[in-house]
Symmetry: C2
Subunit: 340 residues, 2 copies
Amino acid sequence: MPPSSPRRIALDAMGGDRGPKVNVEAAVLAARESGTAVTLVGDETVLAEQLAGHQAAGLPVTIRHAPEAVGMGESPVAALRRKKRSSVRIGLELVRHGEADGFVSAGNTGAVMATALMVLGALPGVERPAIAVVMPTVTGRVVMLDVGANVDCRARHLLQFAVMGHVYARDILGVSAPRLGLLSIGEEESKGNELTREAFKELEDRGGLNFLGNIEGRDVFSGGADVVVCDGFTGNVALKISEGLADALFHLLREELQRDLLARTGSVLLLPAFRRFRRRVDYSEAGGAPLLGVDGVCVISHGRSTAKAIKNAIRVAADCAGNQLIAHIREGIAATGGLS
Amino acid sequence: MPPSSPRRIALDAMGGDRGPKVNVEAAVLAARESGTAVTLVGDETVLAEQLAGHQAAGLPVTIRHAPEAVGMGESPVAALRRKKRSSVRIGLELVRHGEADGFVSAGNTGAVMATALMVLGALPGVERPAIAVVMPTVTGRVVMLDVGANVDCRARHLLQFAVMGHVYARDILGVSAPRLGLLSIGEEESKGNELTREAFKELEDRGGLNFLGNIEGRDVFSGGADVVVCDGFTGNVALKISEGLADALFHLLREELQRDLLARTGSVLLLPAFRRFRRRVDYSEAGGAPLLGVDGVCVISHGRSTAKAIKNAIRVAADCAGNQLIAHIREGIAATGGLS
């Protein structure tokens, strides 16, 4: 579902482990490939210099000066309080004031979340915005949320996550009647911890969701559901352990492949297949995790994102804007009635 | 560390998705390869028939009749109450009465846990026995616990898990001063949920443990710690999502490798390397998860275990018995003082 018209995205050009260089490159790629208008937010001198290194004349890439940057390890609360002119703050204000249709950052996740909540505000009825991540499965893709915004959750928060995940899978991934699973440790209603047992009841009672019941970790990657809800602690552990395992498996595979001449010869023949494989399982291809539940489009990228990953995050933000995601989430939450 | 003398292990021969056939095969393999004496517990007619199909004359494999079996989907509480002569119950009673040095089951995990707690009892000071799993990492192995026995935990339970995991890594895996990590979502003490923040303080205060602090999911498989503690809900989700991801990655890799002639040719050359790789990352090689904290050796295998996996679980049980694991855990817990 491509956006109906070119979108305007504000990019935190100072964010991420690799700084302005990859952000500027990502903006140029996005503008060139899809015509998306990108406003680079950050130190104008640094950004102009970086931009001059690209063939960007005629492309809809502009610069908005922000004199401060939030460090990756900085306390979100301190950043929010002290850095009123950070690239994160100014980028989100562009969205707030209608000068941009969405914001993308590969910067300090906590600071982006806290600033987005303050600048954009939460949608009515949403108590806790959640970070959603789209992961590849054997059969397609799955949206998992929350993966880190809320470490201690109540059952009704999980219900709100479910509604937001449902709308996201439907509007952005194009899945009709997305199958919803509650991440737990056994399929029966009676299985799980206090939180999931209570959330199970609330999800069952709520109309309009295609609730399958509990889903076990094992079935997340086999494609057992289109949307998986969980508290942010469990979701973050699940996400990071998956990233770590994938890395470890690649490492071990590489080791085995280098061990003898036969395998080394075989690997050369296999290179294109391995590249396709890595591309299919590469989280960065999905391009960033939307922060759902705030009143504006905000997409968070991995700190170690490449230019390509950030370009994909810009595309996700443009899709969200083009598909009226915020309005649809607002309607979905309102329809749940008396949630908060 | 091989046991100093042949051990006697009671095997729930009715347990697991594949039933008596693989259990009998596992017993014969264990007896033949390591001289372990195995008592097959279950329906004597069925077991005698299965055993007759093997060249088992002269091997230390015997049969103990148990007229009942616990189904894989059966309620643990109902099984405990109604089936007083199940293979699980009778097998654990052999341990309790000193007729066996350990018990192994690939059966209903909940029923094995509940029955072990009732028949063997908990060690003094242990409020919650925990299931520990040994997983391969890039650099070696890691013990993770709890992976499913206790869904809702308090900080002091995590401290008990830490002590038991420490002893297990030291005595069974042979790691001196095992590095201990608390599974959380950020390395700083302030990160995590209520439970992990409180557990962090308790672990820091406790002497005798080589506590590294929080460990993120990403670092579990890179070998960042020898022991990882978590509540049973988080641990079970982490374990199962890892199993599911590994399966999904193999599936996708196979798909890519079959896609063109070049890759298919390469794969043939790579077969030995792939086999080594699968063996290295195969959980069943580790051979079952010990239930730590009960007063006797009890090892739980995956329901879908093969004969080889169950044979490995028998070896783990024999190692635990040979290394006086229970006595060492008892000492470790006692040394923590005033835990409960």
